[in-house]
């Protein structure tokens, strides 16, 4: 191998090594760049206003009676509180559920691609609280809430 060729070969090897190193440290993540990232700041927020602001950059909410909440008025077990929301608002892009009294209120951020304005889940509730729903309808944020009384908390420990 001549000096020249050896140098070219080494350069190539080092460059390939750098790409591999970058890929393994997560600098290049083509697959993850396509999917939306989990909105950590919003889920880490300790208040509902901060969580909504984290998701939308605004917490300007309008109350709406076009959001229907189906949940018990009183829950015996705060670890499993059934909760369902449906809305007749048009062009629903997101539905959020937030448990006001929980340490991390944001429970869910649903992005609608081709589905109805409906979401259901069972919630953890540390104690009696308002549960808020925010619906992004065509870029405007609408809200409704229900007070749920909890007789045994769900975030024990």
């Amino acid at each position: 191998m001549s000096t020249m060729k050896r140098r070219t070969f080494l350069k190539g090897t080092i460059a390939a090594g750098a790409v591999l190193a970058a890929a393994s440290t997560g600098l290049l993540r083509p697959a993850r760049a396509l999917a939306a990232e989990w909105p950590e700041a919003a889920f880490e927020s300790r208040g509902i206003q901060a969580a909504i602001k984290g998701l939308y950059g605004s917490s300007d909410l309008t109350s709406s009676d076009a959001i229907q909440i189906k949940a018990p008025l009183q829950a015996e077990n705060g670890a499993q509180v059934p909760f369902a929301v449906s809305t007749s608002l048009p062009d629903v892009k997101n539905i959020n559920v937030l448990v006001e009294a929980n340490a991390r209120p944001l429970a869910a951020n649903m992005r609608v691609e081709r589905a109805a304005g409906f979401f259901s889940a069972r919630l953890k509730m540390a104690k009696t609280s308002d549960v808020h729903v925010v619906v992004n309808s065509g870029g405007k944020l609408y809200t409704a809430k229900q007070h749920i009384k909890v007789t045994a908390g769900g975030c024990g420990g």
């Binding site: 939306a36 499993q80 449906s86 944001l106 409906f118 953890k124």
Partner: protein, 105 residues
């Protein structure tokens, strides 16, 4: 460890509703072990996606206020009997799961 999943479809208010159950601890990362006094590390589902005939219908980000063994429901206004639905999830530790079924109203 593989988590168990269940999926079912039913008709609700004139629409197909897909319900999925994942056996998952949904550990908050805020609780302490009573004996050791150490914080129990967070372990919870962060993302769930619903596909209707292979097209993405819903993507949901989930947090620690969702109960243990999440039971999540979505509705598909255009779904009909015989359509294929699939749900996938991933958690904060990189575990994933998927289940599919055929719509039966």
């Amino acid at each position: 460890m593989t988590k168990r999943m269940k999926i079912r479809t039913r008709t609700q208010e004139g629409m197909i509703e897909v319900q999925v159950l994942v056996t998952h601890p949904m550990e908050t990362g805020l609780r302490k072990d009573k004996q050791t006094k150490k914080t129990i590390p967070a372990h919870f589902i962060q993302k769930m996606s619903l596909y209707h005939n292979d097209a993405l219908a819903v993507e949901a980000d989930l947090g620690i206020s969702i109960s243990e063994d999440p039971l999540i429901g979505f509705r598909l206004p255009t779904a009909k009997d015989g359509d294929k639905v699939k749900v996938t999830w991933s958690d904060n530790k990189g575990e994933t799961g998927a289940i599919d079924t055929v719509v039966e109203g």
